[in-house]
Symmetry: C2
Subunit: 324 residues, 2 copies
């Protein structure tokens, strides 16, 4: 039986960026900031605060500068933001982000559809943006989309993923996130790909990012733990998704991830039940329910009351017992 | 990394009994029989057809005799039914079931609340009913509820589960199902409990029965596979649940289970997509949607179309490439 990690685990909240960008409402800046401040108290290792893409491209995140300026930063939390290019990187540096989160896709088709660039163009942009971060002394993480499959192309070979990760490592980035963008990963594949990546790059901070599209979010987290992964993206309430995979549900819910880690006796410095008020805030801001399973059912340690007729039932059963 | 089972896996459909008993509608006998006949063609190892409890107790299954008489039995499929006591066993023998599925709970509280008997009374009944089956040459499986925890009592010690399984084995039953009745299991616990049970009883046919209450159905199946379990209960569409755990979602959906096994390259003789027509029938009979994730999102090998503007996007990107 593979040992699970004995070290502290790192939970990364992606709802403010990866989640909100899929929502049709604009959450007002003040409310967004208050909600992120609420998140900052919950024990996250990292919070993806916003995105420095063009405000026209993602109106939901058009207040990136204001949000970065107005949040109260908790000690020990890494405040990261999505950075699409050098122009975005300059804005992110002005916003004093702790980390650039750069993105490209392991699938050529998805890269074109999502980023409107060829993979060669994306990599060039990513390398330039990494140099800017390095000059400014800011850390860089690269999120590799479709690392476990592309909804349009199908399977993405493990060798393709290995090539891209090696190219990112050669740029000197601190971390890489393997993203199962549309929920195509299975736990066998996760064990194999995460183990191979960790072995090839022992000094890279590897993060796993799963979606619960086909009921395998928890299984993939468990497999990644078995592969030694200690950093996980998750989205409060399970919001998020991908525009190229209709019917796909969102990211693994943070409540569900933290609950699983707690059930396994692993330490991530967080408590699934303590997330409920922030999830309630989020649901009110969005005006709809959230898909998190633990949000609905409660953690497994919550006791349910006895049925109203329980004492009568017991007395009757014991009376039959004596009559025998 | 633990090896997954190399042998054929057995999928047991429990929706006709465990699923329908939670539904408020009565599915007319003819429609129920036609639907079960549809299931019989899909590759299941076992189908739990009905329950020989008192018709007053579970009106949804009041047509047990008629259903057993009218279904067309596919060769190789085991047709089992829930049998609560000797009286039910006599009816089940008349109905020519292949197997009695007997139930009791590893939790004293849940046993009283659900079966209205003490565990001692339940075990006595179970032993008498097993003798009846043995006299009639009918196989016996015991489904042990709350083997991974009780929603009212909390944790159920592994030693308690081991004791009950040993007592069932001593009666000479063929199989035992470890049931996570309200979705409290985690994959670490599943690995430990399933491995220990399989090692203690190498000749017993062990089945795992999970609920997806807290997003861990798939994770628990994966862990059970790592423990060498080759038999799984599942419910088409993910229907079912437990009256003592409000908010709990249903059984692991058969579509989700089969999809996971297919993704892992394991052979269960079934295809997740081939379940769709039977799931559609079920949704129409019940008049509501079904919670299966794969039912909603489709299997991971389903390709999504390219965005409408994909060719334009590509041409523009390539033109920029040439201009550089």
């Amino acid at each position: 039986m593979p040992a699970l990690p004995a070290t502290r685990l790192h939970v990364h909240e992606v709802a403010p960026r990866d989640g909100l960008q899929m929502e049709s409402v604009f959450v007002p800046t003040e409310a967004k900031v208050a909600w992120i401040d609420q998140l900052s108290a919950l024990g996250y290792a990292k919070i993806e605060v916003t995105s420095f893409v063009s405000p026209a491209a993602i109106p939901a995140l058009r207040d990136a500068e204001a949000v970065m300026r107005l949040i109260t930063r908790a000690p020990g939390v890494v405040y990261t933001a999505l950075v699409p290019n050098v122009r975005g990187g300059e804005r992110a540096i002005d916003g004093r982000v702790d980390e650039f989160n750069l993105v490209m896709s392991a699938s050529a088709t998805h890269n074109l559809a999502n980023l409107r660039m060829t993979q060669a163009q994306s990599f060039r942009t990513l390398a330039e943006t990494t140099r800017l971060a390095q000059q400014a002394g800011v850390a860089v993480n690269v999120s590799l989309s479709c690392a476990f499959g592309c909804p349009m192309e199908g399977a993405v070979p493990a060798a393709t993923v290995a090539d891209w990760v090696a190219r990112f490592a050669d740029l000197g980035v601190q971390g890489v996130t393997l993203c199962d963008t549309t929920g195509m990963a299975d736990p066998g594949q996760v064990l194999a790909l995460c183990s191979a990546t960790a072995q090839a790059h022992p000094t890279l901070a590897l993060t796993a990012h799963f979606h619960d599209t086909r009921g395998l979010g928890g299984a993939n987290v468990f497999a990644a733990l078995q592969a030694g992964i200690t950093r996980f993206d998750a989205s409060l309430g399970g919001i998020g998704g991908c525009p190229y995979a209709p019917g796909a549900s969102g990211n693994v819910a943070t409540e569900d991830l933290v609950h699983l880690l707690q059930c396994l006796g692993l330490d991530c410095g967080m408590d699934a039940e303590a997330l409920a008020p922030a999830a309630q805030t989020l649901g009110e801001l969005l005006g709809h329910g959230l898909p998190s399973a633990v949000g609905r059912a409660g953690p497994r340690w919550r006791r349910h009351p006895l049925p109203a007729d329980f004492e009568q039932t017991r007395e009757r059963a014991l009376a039959r017992e004596l009559a025998m």
